[in-house]
């Protein structure tokens, strides 16, 4: 997810989320699909073999590093991880202990905390700002509205590389927030806004106008409507974008590298692990544990929020 700045529509997002869990499979007769039929008709055993080959190819590299992260430092560098299965007693948590031990020079715990501190505001800020803007673009008449919306939409294609250096200059010499969390919070917010405004706006336009009109007749102002009526209805869209943004920020390397550098005060774990890979490329005991420490949260959050998101979708009924 980290590379993608999807130009996807909300329904794309939703179908994607729905089908990866596969959990809430609709009851009733199992639908046939042309492609499935095709595969089965060609020759079922070969189709299964091909699927298994792909699945194995896609899984083995991760398993290899995962197994390695539980092996002793010396064993890692003298024998292949696949040989370790013959001696299951030799596995150890020592690599993780070293990687997390506070105070040691190899410790990643500081960086891990930096990642958390960076990520939470960098998800909340754009979500809230984009919802407000999307509401204005969808339901409030003001001069120049449509032109502005098109401009925001068009900004999706600007690669963030184009903005990095002047932005860094603004942070350092004009705002005095260079190499601080503030610079990455702001940057992630800015870079997320075009897509967020676009996705949430699309979702808002799907809501019935009568809803807003009825509330207006009852004397509710925009602020009330936004908080009382829209935000609750928006939960599925916010969750969808929230997952994107969370994975994006947690997994980001470039933005943090440019604005924060590598200091333990502020740098996130991705920056540190990438740095270790360059400077201590053969310290696999540290790299393997570090890599999995950095992965565990996004994988867990992704799997957990996915279900929540699908439930929200089915209850809220996105696009019929």
């Amino acid at each position: 997810m980290s590379t993608l700045e999807p130009i996807a529509m909300p329904e794309k997002v939703s179908s994607e989320m729905e089908h990866t869990t596969g959990a809430p499979e609709k009851k009733g007769r199992r639908k046939k699909s042309a492609a499935g039929d095709a595969a089965r008709a060609i020759s079922s055993p070969w189709a299964s073999v091909a699927a298994i080959v792909i699945a194995v190819l896609w899984t083995i590299p991760t398993i290899g590093l995962l197994v390695t992260s539980f092996r002793e430092q010396r064993a890692i560098n003298t024998s292949g991880w696949w040989t370790s299965f013959s001696d299951p007693g030799a596995y150890t948590l020592e690599n993780y202990r070293q990687a997390l031990a506070p105070g040691s020079s190899a410790s990643l715990s500081q960086y891990f905390i930096n990642t958390i501190v960076i990520t939470i505001p960098a998800v909340l800020l754009p979500l809230f700002l984009a919802s407000l803007a999307a509401y204005a673009f969808a339901w409030m008449p003001f001069p120049g509205r449509d032109a502005l919306f098109v401009a925001v939409f068009a900004l999706q294609i600007v690669p963030l590389q184009v903005a990095l250096i002047p932005l860094l200059d603004i942070y350092v010499s004009r705002l005095g927030i260079g190499a601080s969390y503030w610079s990455v919070w702001l940057s992630h917010t800015i870079f997320a806004l075009p897509l967020a405004v676009f996705l949430i706006h699309n979702f808002m336009r799907e809501l019935p106008a009568e809803l807003m009109e009825a509330a207006r007749v009852d004397g509710a102002g925009h602020v009330t409507i936004f908080f009382r009526i829209l935000l609750p209805l928006l939960t599925p869209a916010l969750a969808a974008f929230g997952i994107f943004q969370f994975l994006w920020v947690w997994n980001d390397l470039l933005v943090s590298l440019v604005f924060l550098g590598g200091t333990p005060d502020v740098a996130p774990i991705t920056v540190r692990v990438a740095e270790l890979s360059g400077s201590r490329g053969s310290a696999w005991y540290l790299l393997s544990a570090g890599a999995f420490i950095s992965m565990i949260v996004p994988v867990a959050v992704f799997l957990a929020l996915q279900r929540y998101f699908v439930r929200g979708l089915l209850a809220g009924g996105l696009k019929g």
Binding site: S15, H19, G22, S33, P61, F142, Y181, P194, S277
Partner: protein, 338 residues
């Protein structure tokens, strides 16, 4: 003029609100930021709710959309314009007007190599990743354990490219042929009786080894979107085709493929744009050495390591220019479908 005001602000931010050493300090900063944000927006919304009537309503709209628009103008548009200007001001980005950087980009052998590598990436990754994703989506469609099979391919999308790079760097790990191997790929080569390879150092092989990592990450995205598209094909069409005795392959060629065409276009172009900007993988695995650099990586190196801000800016602008045709193609295809 504004810059002077801002400099005034800069001096006013006390150090404890900028950086923190301790865990408690860091979390304090985080909650402080969120609280500050909440207070500022509480005020904005309070002001907004005070405006009544037709004119007031317009002003409310400005207040709602204003913060996002302002951030985008100052944080994205303005810097982008500065970068474009900088790219025309010589290697350092501070000289007088010249097209030197662009000239250099298309003539200097090292930079031509960067362009060539980027082209290889952008051609190979979207098609291979989409191909694998499509084949896999078809193979496991309605099969037993579909959700689990999908998760296996999809999970690489949830992890960072840095993590993915480490995983694959270990697969590619090199030891001399005579010694015990710890990298899986070289172990296989050795078992088959070949010499072990320095996969990340031997050019041009290494670029392809890096491309595999990106394909590994993106195939899950392709698989998920295409799988959803396949499931959306109406039953009636399939039943009718089956009654007519259409063969499996023809069914795929003339029914499945045309039905999922819009999804295919979205997938290929989205992966293409992502690939164009690929940075993390190259930086983590080779740092762009051994002839593996790509535009996004070269942008970083020129700007931050070689102090060639102008050339870096030109490379960023090139990225921008290369993204545009892909997006335009995407929009045209969507129009055609609609």
């Amino acid at each position: 003029m504004t810059s002077h005001v801002l400099v005034g602000v800069a001096g006013a931010i006390p150090e404890p609100l900028l950086r923190a050493q301790s865990v408690a300090g860091k979390f304090f900063l985080m909650f402080f930021a969120i609280a500050l944000f909440a207070v500022v927006f509480g005020l904005v919304l309070l002001i907004a709710s005070l405006f009544k009537g037709k004119t007031g309503e317009r002003f409310q709209g400005v207040l709602f959309a204003g913060p996002a628009v302002l951030l985008l103008a100052v944080g994205l548009m303005y810097p982008a314009i500065l970068t474009i200007i900088q790219s025309f001001r010589g290697k350092s980005g501070e000289g007088s007007f010249s097209v030197e950087n662009y000239q250099q980009m298309f003539t200097e052998p090292e930079l031509l190599l960067v362009l060539r590598n980027t082209a290889i990436w952008v051609i190979l990754v979207p098609f291979i990743a989409t191909g694998v994703g499509l084949v896999y989506a078809i193979l496991i469609d309605r099969a037993r354990g579909e959700a689990f099979s999908k998760a296996l391919i999809f999970l690489p999308m949830a992890i960072s490219m840095v993590g993915a790079s480490i995983i694959w760097k270990f697969v590619y790990q090199y030891k001399q042929t005579s010694r015990p191997q710890i990298g899986l790929l070289n172990a296989i080569l050795k078992a088959l009786g070949f010499e072990t390879q320095q996969f990340l150092i031997n050019a041009p092989l290494n670029t392809f080894m890096l491309i595999i990592v990106m394909v590994w990450i993106q195939a899950g995205f392709a698989m998920t979107v295409l799988s959803a598209a396949i499931k959306a094909i109406p039953d009636e069409i399939l039943e009718a085709a089956k009654l007519d005795g259409v063969q499996a392959f023809k069914m795929f060629r003339f029914i499945t493929l045309p039905s999922i065409r819009p999804a295919l276009v979205v997938v290929i172009t989205t992966i293409g744009i992502g690939t164009l900007k690929v940075f993390d993988i190259v930086r983590t695995m080779t740092g762009g050495q051994f002839d593996t650099s790509v535009v996004a990586n070269e942008f970083y190196n020129q700007s931050f390591r070689y102090d060639a801000g102008g050339l870096g800016a030109a490379l960023a602008v090139l990225l921008f220019v290369l993204v545009i045709p892909i997006v335009v193609y995407n929009i045209f295809q969507m129009r055609k479908e609609a």
